[in-house]
Symmetry: C2
Subunit: 286 residues, 2 copies
Amino acid sequence: MSSGDLSRSENPIGVFDSGLGGLTVVRELQSAMPNEEIVYLGDTARVPYGTKSLQTIRRFSLEDAAFLLEFSPKMIVVACNSASAAAVTVLRERLPVEVVDVISPSAARAVAHAPGTIGVIGTEATVNSGAYQRAIHELDPSREVVAVACPLLVPIVEEGRDQTDPIVTHVLCDYLRDLQRIRPTVLILGCTHYPLLSGAIGKLMGPATPLINSGWAAAQEAVARLERGGLRSRRQERGTLRCFTTDNPQRFAAFAQRFGTARIDQVEYLGTDMLETRRLPEGSAP
Amino acid sequence: MSSGDLSRSENPIGVFDSGLGGLTVVRELQSAMPNEEIVYLGDTARVPYGTKSLQTIRRFSLEDAAFLLEFSPKMIVVACNSASAAAVTVLRERLPVEVVDVISPSAARAVAHAPGTIGVIGTEATVNSGAYQRAIHELDPSREVVAVACPLLVPIVEEGRDQTDPIVTHVLCDYLRDLQRIRPTVLILGCTHYPLLSGAIGKLMGPATPLINSGWAAAQEAVARLERGGLRSRRQERGTLRCFTTDNPQRFAAFAQRFGTARIDQVEYLGTDMLETRRLPEGSAP
């Protein structure tokens, strides 16, 4: 670890997502770095991003990030695959802090795992953007990638159905049919909701196809970058988790438990009208 | 028909919805009144409303209506059950024109149909709001109402699955199990997406339980109110349909066909940042 930037190491990590799914990424961040402060924005009033156009997702992502900048974060984690697919380039250009996305870390893990076809499942926006394919081909241009959009999995998880529910099995069988035949060397769970279905997905794909949780890969990347920059917190106690939501905070707190995060210290309401007024200054990159 | 208000009879009917579902209401309006001009706003950037809090839905609905007022509509149709459930009272208080919702007309049709239990299916927001129960009990306080939330049906329709898809059958069987046992005297399709599944729903419920399409009932109510106010158009030719969408207009136009509307003459983009700046003047009611 470098001697680091003492003035910034105790600043929070900013995390944003279209809604609640990003809390699975927070869980991985907390598990890897329990002493870090986290500020989370879940844009539950405009969720989902995954069925919307890249242009709209980009605008929402810039507003979300502009809000988080008010907390002087030492890093921003884009805890949403659709936002990572649509907006990571513009976020890296415009934000004055390091940006960790959920796509490139899992793409790197998948390429490193073994040769052979890489499978990806995600939302319509993520799959249609080709972002996973690009991230994988940057590392290995010859690698075959099979990406399948699974639009019903997010609403199924948000409805609270668990992995043993017959509807979950039927829907997964439908989406995974081609991937079961192809038998990829590894399958990337390219949506932050999918780790909640990893048991059922793993069972259908079989032990020969390990799953990569994109949130877990992003958390490992965040640790490595903070270490490299000497920006890990020296705090001894558990870091707090402060959440902002653009819809009902009570509902947010109730649903958050499903996503398995550690204790949430505070949930506050933030209207999307407040978000829409926030704009990143042009050319604010370092 | 009264002699009417000639200055306003040629004004358009304003229709808004959280997204594309309201186009099934437009189809019913066009079928009942082919010569009327219609301006439609689909808030596809913030769709769905049905999983969000009543407070957020109310704010979005007021913004949507404020936008439509710019076209001097002679009537506003709230073509979204979730928006009708959350916002119709405040819209009636604040708008200077007649407001037709999709809940009270179908509640009235259901009560008039026959004695016995009334079944309702809808989104989480619509069902949890108790709006159908209230509308029915205003007409018949002793009427039993069984309302079931069906959160997956909207994403299933938007994914483009048709009524013969096995997933559709599995999901419908799961949601309708109790209603099949109860055998209501009539079943209200309390979401504008559900008419696209009416064949499958009707098959599961059987011929003893007719279905009421809330959009069809709303269109009949709109005709009756315009007739009463002498506000029906005297135009001989087909009325145009001008659509605004807060997300991708190409996607809107492509998906619109699924919802079976007549020709859309124009689809224009309108950013939600433009909507958020619109506020209804306080006390603008007539």
